[in-house]
């Protein structure tokens, strides 16, 4: 008898598998039965924008964009489906074997999706018992509760703050630094330009439109990515993109998209395309720099007055240090751009006012620090940093950067940290010689190789021996790389807790799963427009929490109560949801007193929003340009550092003292590994989701899936060679994993390149497509999560960030047994 048969036997004999209850109709009915009967339009919002919602017979019946949103995303069509969804976590549940054996459970069963319904008291009790056990046995280094990600919006109910405050009341834990989106960029740029840049407000769009003659979109797709924001997005950037489209049509601004593929923005603007081989931006940039030096196209005065170390970089550029002169001919062989085009492009960049707008993709690859550093060097050589419509930006595709800030004070939030003097149940800060903070993308390494010491950003990090993880509103089984490696790591964990609203893959691989309600089942306030800070938005509760779900506030108040007498009170500071909202609002009102008019809380709540007005246009780095002595950059020298002595003195072989081209472990178009797996997998931010948020929204998902699966975009000739046409089911694979996806053949994707957008929910089934075996290493992903295939290595010793874009695969028409998609149906419910 093999293990699977044994498991099947277990399910068949000892336990009763409850048949999956049917979906939407009963959900609606259930919602209606417990809901407030009053109907009408209410105001709320999410990362996707602000909207109005209609409540009819106690259920959400309609969602329309807010009056002020001139460019709403069609993602709001998916909002309703997030609430009424077959993936909803209906009640607290515990993995079968964990319920039976606790920390001695068979962790290889994790992911088999067999869960038992328990009461809230039982679930929270188990949660607390596990924490007790971990803190007693291992101390704080055994617990990682710092792996947080995008949450749902709202200043009060922010789920990561609630989880971390409550867990910190119990004891200390391992935390992360950095994030998956911009890990390499936010680490290298402070050394070079003196700020993370990726999260800094940028030159206002109006000034770019007025002054730029050339705009370079470098692996940048703002039209796709500006649909979502960290707070309720205003979508004001789209008005500027519309103006840009007009200017492109009239020939007033030349826009060039440097990208391996034809982006959504390129299609919208009708702009030029400059094709480049994936992962080869650095040779291309070096060759441009070489040409600028050759033809004396550089701004020597700017380099002299505002930067440091060009003289140390020049010998590398000219081949004196490594014997390779970085000529257009040299680069052309790597990047696939002809020497003539490179030479011409150097002229284009330097001819007139040029604004370079970098995307984030190029830094999510091995040595991802380098293209960012080298782009800053190019911008320095051009000499337009600090001029309106000139210089370089690393954020105009994100959260409305480039829309001037109103300048109003934003509201505070429910505290993530303990209050001063608050006593913890376990107050040990002894991490057994390991680091208490690890680079965000290195946690799987840490679980697999505890005690190992690595380099990171000038420090030494020693991996803690993690035994328990707590996730809240966070789906690492989306954003981390290499699913099979994750499974190996998870075998070693004793306990995993997930708090979420729907059955994400992270919940599937957890032991204790707690149902949080959605944004629309609680009251909150949000900033309207992250960088624009256009106003405040009331997020009015539409319906009561569905099933047994609770708000994060309520979940962790109950949890805190288990920590001792008066602890719940300590957790909430003695205030309920309404009192918190009123306080957050009134504190904000006080901060804005005399500057921005704000009505009383009651009036605000009734209106649904407060509007702060528009901000003034602004130029990034202008103050630095005006007076670099008084307004130095945040670099060690205060100047742009083309050569960084600080980085050089770390003596990292994979991140030397100036921008450098280094070959990747995997690279398509003739690079390493391309003989075996010739195709580069691009796993960019999705067009129809915010990372993995919204993938579960059934009807909306069905607007873009192919045979129920995530689309994989294929080059026509590559597809033809493999006998694949649009609509076919494709198996994409490499030595790390395999997935099924639905073919979309498109000439927007050049040869040797496919795209599967990240955020597709992992739905493992047996290796051969059979229903059983999803928990096993080598499982087939039935839906199309690209991180089944991606590479889990750090970008370099500097940032140790995620390298998802360094990934080669191959694909074929799928001939095997076609499994049902297993991502969205929730667990197999077992009755004990």
């Amino acid at each position: 008898m093999n293990r699977r048969d044994f498991l099947k036997g277990l399910v068949g004999t000892s336990y009763v598998v409850l048949s999956g209850s049917s979906v939407l109709a009963p959900l609606n009915a259930l919602a209606a039965s417990g809901a407030d009967a009053s109907d009408g339009w209410l105001t709320t919002g999410s990362h996707m924008g602000a909207f109005k919602m209609k409540r009819k017979n106690g259920v959400i019946s309609e969602v329309i964009p807010f009056d002020t949103d001139m460019y709403p995303t069609d993602m709001i069509n998916g909002i309703k489906g997030l609430v009424y969804n077959e993936s909803r976590i209906r009640y607290p549940m515990v993995r079968l074997d964990f319920l039976l054996k606790g920390h001695q459970s068979d962790t290889k069963q994790r992911g088999d999706f067999r869960f038992v319904r328990v009461t809230w008291d039982k679930a929270l009790g188990l949660f607390k018992d596990s924490l007790d056990l971990i803190q007693t046995k291992y101390g704080p280094s055994g617990l990682h509760a710092g792996q947080t990600g995008w949450r749902a919006t709202g200043q009060l109910h922010s789920c990561t703050s609630h989880m971390q405050r409550a867990v910190a009341m119990h004891g200390n834990f391992v935390k992360k630094v950095g994030d998956y989106s911009t890990g390499a960029g936010q680490t290298i740029l402070p050394y070079v330009l003196g700020s993370t840049e990726v999260y800094a407000q940028g030159t206002s769009w109006s000034l770019i439109l007025e002054h730029s003659k050339t705009i370079i979109l470098w692996s940048n797709d703002p039209y796709k990515n500006l649909q979502v924001g960290w707070n309720a997005e205003t979508h004001e950037s789209y008005a500027y993109l519309a103006q840009l489209k007009e200017k492109v049509a009239k020939g007033e601004i030349r826009v060039i998209s440097i990208d391996p593929v034809v982006s959504k923005t390129q299609q919208y603007l009708g702009c030029e395309h400059l094709y480049i081989n994936p992962q080869t931006d650095v040779p291309f940039m070096l060759a441009i720099a070489h040409e600028m030096v050759e033809k004396n196209l550089l701004d020597n005065e700017f380099i002299e007055g505002y930067s440091l170390g060009f003289d140390k970089f020049l010998p590398y550029l000219q081949g004196q240090t490594d014997g390779v002169e970085k000529t257009p001919e040299w680069a052309s062989k790597i990047c696939g751009v002809s020497p003539e085009v490179i030479r011409d492009f150097a002229k284009v960049l330097t001819k007139d006012r040029t604004q370079i707008l970098m995307g984030w993709c190029v830094q999510r690859q091995q040595h991802g620090e380098q293209p960012y550093w080298m782009s800053a060097v190019l911008a320095t050589m051009i000499g337009q940093i600090g001029l309106p419509g000139g210089g370089i930006s690393y954020g105009h595709h994100y959260s409305g950067i480039g829309v001037p800030s109103s300048g109003a004070a934003a509201p505070g939030a429910f505290p993530r940290n303990l209050d001063d003097g608050q006593k913890q149940l376990f107050d040990s800060t002894d991490f057994n010689g390991a680091s208490s903070v690890i680079p965000v993308a290195r946690w799987i390494d840490s679980i697999l190789e505890p005690g190992k010491t690595i380099d990171a950003n000038g420090s030494k990090i020693t991996y803690p021996d993690i035994k328990m993880m707590v996730f809240s509103g966070n789906n690492p089984w989306n954003h981390h790389q290499d699913r099979n490696r994750m499974k190996e790591a998870f075998f070693k964990l004793e306990c995993i807790v997930s708090i979420d609203m729907n059955w994400t893959a992270a919940c599937r691989f957890s032991d204790i799963v707690l149902p949080a309600c959605t944004t629309f089942e609680r009251n909150d306030i949000d900033i309207y427009g992250s960088y624009a800070n256009r106003g405040l938005l009331a997020m009015q509760k539409m319906v009561e929490p569905l099933f047994e779900s609770l708000s994060d506030f309520e979940i962790f108040t109950r949890f805190a109560a288990l920590l001792g007498e008066g602890k719940a009170q300590e957790y909430t500071r003695g205030m309920n949801e309404h009192q918190w909202l009123e306080m957050l609002y009134n504190d904000c009102k006080a901060s804005n007193e005399g500057k921005f008019e704000m009505p009383s809380f009651e009036e605000f709540w009734k209106a649904g929003y407060v509007y702060f007005g528009e901000g003034k246009p602004w130029v990034r780095h202008q103050a630095f340009r005006d007076d670099p002595e008084i307004n130095p950059l945040g670099t060690p020298s205060g100047l742009i550092e083309i050569f960084s002595r600080k980085i050089a003195h770390y003596e990292y072989d994979d991140c030397p003292g100036h921008p450098t081209w280094m070959e990747k472990v995997e690279r398509s178009h003739g690079g390493p590994g391309s003989k075996k797996h010739p195709i580069w997998l691009q796993s960019c931010h999705p067009d129809k989701r915010l990372h993995s948020q919204m993938c579960e929204s059934t009807e909306f998902r069905e607007t873009y899936t192919v045979k129920g699966r995530e689309p994989v975009y294929l080059n026509p000739e590559d597809a033809k060679k493999r006998g694949i046409k649009s609509g076919d089911i494709v198996r994409v694979f490499n030595d790390r994993g395999q997935l099924l996806a639905g073919a979309v053949v498109s000439d927007k994707f050049p040869q040797g390149i496919i795209r599967i957008q990240e955020g597709a929910w992992y739905g493992p089934v047996g290796k051969d497509g059979s229903k059983e075996g999803g928990a096993e290493i080598g499982a087939l992903d039935s839906y199309g999560d690209p991180n089944t295939l991606t590479l889990d290595i750090g970008t370099s010793k500097l940032a140790q960030a995620c390298s998802a874009y360094t990934c080669l695969v191959d694909y074929e028409k799928y001939q095997g047994k076609v499994p049902a998609v297993s991502s969205f149906s929730g667990p197999i419910e077992i009755a004990l």
């Binding site: 710092g146 947080t148 200043q155 922010s158 990561t160 703050s161 971390q164 935390k175 994030d179 936010q186 740029l189 402070p190 050394y191 330009l193 003196g194 700020s195 993370t196 840049e197 990726v198 999260y199 800094a200 407000q201 960290w230 440091l308 800030s405 004070a409 934003a410 505070g412 939030a413 505290p415 993530r416 940290n417 209050d419 001063d420 003097g421 608050q422 680091s435 903070v437 420090s459 030494k460 990090i461 020693t462 992250s530 960088y531 500071r573 901060s591 670099p628 002595e629 008084i630 130095p632 950059l633 945040g634 670099t635 060690p636 020298s637 205060g638 550092e641 002595r645 600080k646 003195h649």
Partner: protein, 392 residues
């Protein structure tokens, strides 16, 4: 017994009309009556009713008081005007009553009878009251509120921390609780009101030769009179008082500068981009302002640094004797503001020269005025891994 008899005789001996005893007794009785009257009259001026019989008092400060917990609360105990504004002991009370001639003048000449006039004088009046409170460590408050009787456990953790520290030094209540009963005056140039409410407006009576710390980013001047600015002193910067003249103090700022440009920027220490002061070009070049000492090359940048001392003038306000309250405020602001989106890195996670880049790269999301931003950045730098080796 003879002496007793003599006294009796003297007292009973008829004077011209009355016995001395009668006179003394009457004087005593008269005294009581007079004192009673004086006291009654005095007490009449010591009632709220009397205070608010002036239109100026009734329409502004009294209406403001009515909105506060000192007027209306769950226990029904309330403070009246004299409870706070008139000392309770006889001597000081008399002195205060004499001072009150001021108020009578105001009443006669209608100096504060309209909201506009009142607001125009608000800062002046409030400053006088604050000074009075400071002189006796807020005795008027302490007549009701005593540190010894405070029940720490029923306070919030934040309040506990602040109050315990205040109790240790028997701190004057008004240091922190300005504006508790009346609207705060418009402090004019006073920036970062929350910060200043926490750390105060600086010590009065600067001691020459002592060191102090700036509570705000402050303008620097060429001498004790001119309004021509010579630069700015950054917040939380240590200065030594060299001379005091009127409302100005000449200070010495020790530090290092990079030998680039005019050398206008003074940093905390060699190779550390922790800002202490920025001078104008004129000031940096002015004879006698900057004294220069040894030079060193910074291995991390290759730039030459030079040790300097700048001797220059600033206003004598917003100078604190202790740096810790500034750090406490910075720490709590950092922990609160920078954890809204993510876990805030420990200050010692980065070194002093990395913090400006990290902090400036995130600041667009954070809600802090300029002074607080500068303070928090400096707090992070001075508590970074450059100084605290405990991280990792």
């Amino acid at each position: 017994m003879r002496w007793l008899l003599n006294i009796w005789r003297t007292l009973t001996k008829p004077a011209k009309y009355l016995t001395l005893g009668t006179i003394s007794l009457s004087a005593f009785l008269m005294g009581i009556i007079f004192w009673g009257g004086f006291h009654t009259a005095l007490e009449a001026t010591n009632t709220e009713e009397f205070c608010i019989s002036c239109h100026g008092m009734e329409s502004m400060p009294y209406q403001e008081l009515k909105k506060t917990v000192h007027f209306s609360n769950s226990s029904g105990v309330r403070a009246t005007c004299p409870d706070c504004h008139v000392p309770h002991a006889f001597g000081p009370k008399m002195a205060r009553k004499l001072e009150a001639s001021h108020d009578v003048y105001g009443w006669l000449f209608n100096t504060i009878n309209t909201p506009e006039k009142y607001n125009a004088k608000r800062l002046e009046m409030a400053s006088r009251e604050w000074k009075r409170f400071d002189q006796n460590k807020s005795l008027a408050c302490k007549n009701c509120h005593q540190y010894e009787s405070m029940k720490w456990d029923s306070m919030s953790k934040l309040a506990q921390k602040q109050m315990k520290r205040a109790a240790e030094t028997d701190q004057s209540c008004i240091d922190c609780h300005k504006g508790i009963a009346h609207t705060l005056p418009d402090m004019g140039t006073a920036r970062a009101p929350e910060l200043i409410a926490e750390v105060g407006r600086g010590v009065s009576g600067l001691q020459v030769g002592q060191t102090y710390f700036s509570a705000l980013t402050k303008p620097l001047f060429f001498n004790d009179k001119t309004d021509v600015e010579a630069g700015t002193l950054n917040i939380a910067t240590k200065v030594k008082i060299l001379e005091v003249k009127g409302n100005r103090a000449k200070i010495g700022i020790d530090g290092w500068r990079k030998k680039i440009g005019a050398g206008r920027v003074i940093y905390y220490d060699f190779g550390l981009n922790i800002l202490s002061a920025q001078l104008t070009k004129d000031a940096a070049l002015e004879e006698g302002v900057i004294k220069t000492f040894e030079e060193k090359e910074d291995p991390m940048t290759g730039l030459i640094w030079q040790r300097v001392e700048a001797d220059i003038w600033t206003d004598s306000d917003y100078l604190l004797s202790d740096l810790q309250p500034l750090w406490d405020y910075a720490q709590s602001t950092y922990d609160t503001s920078c954890s809204v989106c993510h876990t805030q890195p420990a200050p010692a996670h980065f070194d002093a020269n990395t913090w400006p880049g990290m902090f400036q790269g995130m600041i667009s999301f954070v809600n802090m005025d300029q002074d607080t931003q500068a303070l928090v950045q400096k707090y992070l730098q001075e508590h970074s891994s450059t100084f605290d080796k405990s991280a990792h």
